[in-house]
Point group: C2
Chain length 195, copies 2
């Protein structure tokens, strides 16, 4: 009996994630969460504790998906350097495509809740460090492939790469012209890979 319930919770978390991502946390009443998930308030509370618990689960779920996407994209590229370029290109494509962009759930949440909810900000901070570690590994692979010098500090470069991704995500909220998004790519790759 455990598996169907498990699956269900993941689906509910994903539905809540999309709603928080689109509307923000404070602008999403529990009634919207009930409507979109089809789960009664009592069941939501028993599964997540409260609305904040549902946000925390949604943030984890978002990060898991993002991390899987990064790893899949990099693993399917010939080199890690190409994988990073393809990831950035994909983000540019998404942000300049027809579908509207809701930016990054982690950043949106951080800016909405900063100074208001330490629990949430602490988790966002931890999840960002997890993404940073994932990028550090990717950059270590680039080093082993000879695209970074042996003295390159992959941990520091991962922070820079995260910064570039944040810029793209923030910029995507402005419905920018494609050239503006593309303008970041060449200097970002240069900042990462030119020794």
């Amino acid at each position: 009996m455990a598996r169907p319930q498990q699956y269900n919770k993941e689906k509910v978390t994903a539905q809540a994630m999309h709603l928080f991502w689109k509307q923000g946390y404070q602008a999403t009443p529990v009634s919207d969460l009930v409507k979109v998930t089809g789960v009664r308030p009592g069941s939501l509370y028993s599964a997540y504790g409260n609305k904040e618990g549902l946000l925390l689960a949604a943030l984890e779920h978002y990060t898991n998906e993002l991390e899987s996407d990064v790893r899949r994209r990099v693993n399917s590229s010939i080199t890690a350097k190409e994988g990073i370029e393809s990831l950035l290109q994909h983000m540019i494509f998404e942000a300049t495509g027809d579908c509207s962009s809701d930016g990054c759930l982690l950043i949106n949440t951080l800016l909405e809740m900063s100074g208001q909810n330490d629990n949430v900000c602490h988790l966002v901070s931890q999840l960002l460090v997890r993404l940073e570690q994932c990028f550090t590994e990717v950059l270590e692979r680039a080093k082993s492939e000879g695209d970074l010098s042996q003295s390159a500090d992959c941990e520091q470069l991962a922070v820079f790469l995260m910064g570039i991704i944040w810029s793209l995500k923030v910029m995507s909220r402005l419905s920018p012209e494609p050239w503006r998004m593309q303008a970041l790519l060449t200097p970002a790759m240069k900042g990462l890979f030119e020794n």
Copy 2:
């Protein structure tokens, strides 16, 4: 009689700016604005139309101050390249100092109001383009000083520089360790100035 009223309005706008910056727009009731400015609601409404009008004035004021700060810092440096590095160092210092950072009012407002208020987002977009133009001029100076190749596209590099500043401002909300902020500086300067 015009000048004292003018001065007063600028002061009120600055006070409102600091409040919106600290608390966000939606979380700032008119009663807070009345308290901090010492101006009665009727006078605020007659000067700014409504709370949104006061936000629009605050965003303009914020951008004017930021632009003046950039120009002052660059003009007092020997080269534009040094001016840019000093500006980024100053932002890192501010974000890792004792005083808490409220990030960037333009980005905070954009992320708070995106999809909710087109008027506000349109102004934020225009003000960001104005800052971008200011950075394009600074980079043109760097080109004339020989720190950029003649073929460098200063308009595109200005977008990259804005992106780096956005990253620093977003990161500052996380109360980051100094090394994380510093990690952005070297690759950012490389992305800008290595041809």
